[in-house]
């Protein structure tokens, strides 16, 4: 029951750095209180906005990666909506995407291993040992065929 979400929000440009930090701390607290895990917080700094938002031309972008249930994220969104310095936010669910990517990587890894048997160690697979490495060959085969014919 751990979904992976990515929340990006924009803070008004006229708040000081420490205010931004306080805000972020508040949000992370609300996530952890709800039983979620904040994986990553990245302050992307000040950027020019593509259009005027609440009369501002630029803003402080912050990116948070969260692993939590849906209710926690709903609560976070509510806070983001309510908090005054935050002018825009978006939350995206990314666990399905990650699963798909991991699957593709796994397939590529197995394919490389099969085709590069003699030079297996030299295969530049930038793939960490995927958990789904034991992907059922049944699904790997047709996907391989599809990929090969692509």
């Amino acid at each position: 029951m751990s979904r992976l979400y990515e929340a990006m929000f924009i803070v008004r440009p006229d708040v000081v750095e420490e205010e931004v930090d306080k805000l972020i701390a508040g949000f992370t607290a609300s996530v952890t209180n709800g039983g979620g895990v904040v994986k990553n917080v990245e302050k992307m700094g000040r950027r020019k906005l593509a259009y005027i938002v609440r009369k501002f031309n630029d803003g402080n972008y912050v990116l948070m990666t969260i692993e939590a249930g849906g209710a926690v994220v709903a609560e976070l969104e509510r806070r983001l909506r309510v908090s005054e310095p935050v002018i825009k936010f978006i939350t995206v669910r990314i666990d399905e995407e990650e699963k798909r990517l991991a699957k593709i990587k796994a397939i590529r890894a197995t394919r490389k291993k099969l085709s590069a048997e003699p030079a297996a160690s030299a295969a530049p697979a930038p793939v960490p040992a995927p958990p789904a490495a034991a992907a059922p060959p049944a699904t790997a085969a047709p996907v391989e065929a599809v990929q090969a014919s692509a």
Binding site: I10, L49, A50, Y51, G59, K88, F89
Partner: protein, 122 residues
């Protein structure tokens, strides 16, 4: 793959007028473009447009094996957005359907978070 027939989703404004862009992309299986080419498939030659043969455009994402198209990657997305901020149709960029769908989703997400404009007018 390499399916660059006239799109069935882009609302080219059902204009009876010649479809915008070099129409004769000459792809096989004009099944989806059938509604706009009542005169049968162009079959590789200039359909009704009279332009020269359009070289086969390949999907950039398929060749470079880019799996995920994140909305944060503005530079990548901007290549598929026109000057006025509109999303460029698949016909012109050569992107394949799945990637065009993901791309569209990412562009719309980016627009929502003010990384890309909805429309720019001079």
């Amino acid at each position: 793959m390499a399916d660059e027939t006239t799109t069935n989703r882009a609302p080219e404004g059902g204009s009876a007028a010649p479809t915008p862009g070099p129409g004769g992309s000459g792809g096989p299986g004009g099944g989806q473009g059938g509604e706009r080419r009542p005169g049968g498939r162009p079959g590789g030659g200039p359909g009704g447009r009279g332009k020269f043969f359009r070289r086969k455009k390949v999907c950039k994402f398929c060749t470079e094996k880019i799996d995920a198209i994140p909305y944060r990657d503005v530079r990548l997305l901007q290549q598929f957005v026109a000057e006025r901020g509109k999303i460029v149709p698949r016909r012109l960029t050569g992107v394949c359907t799945t990637h065009q769908r993901r791309l569209t989703r990412a562009i719309k997400q980016a627009r929502n978070i003010a990384l890309l404009p909805f429309a720019t007018h001079h």
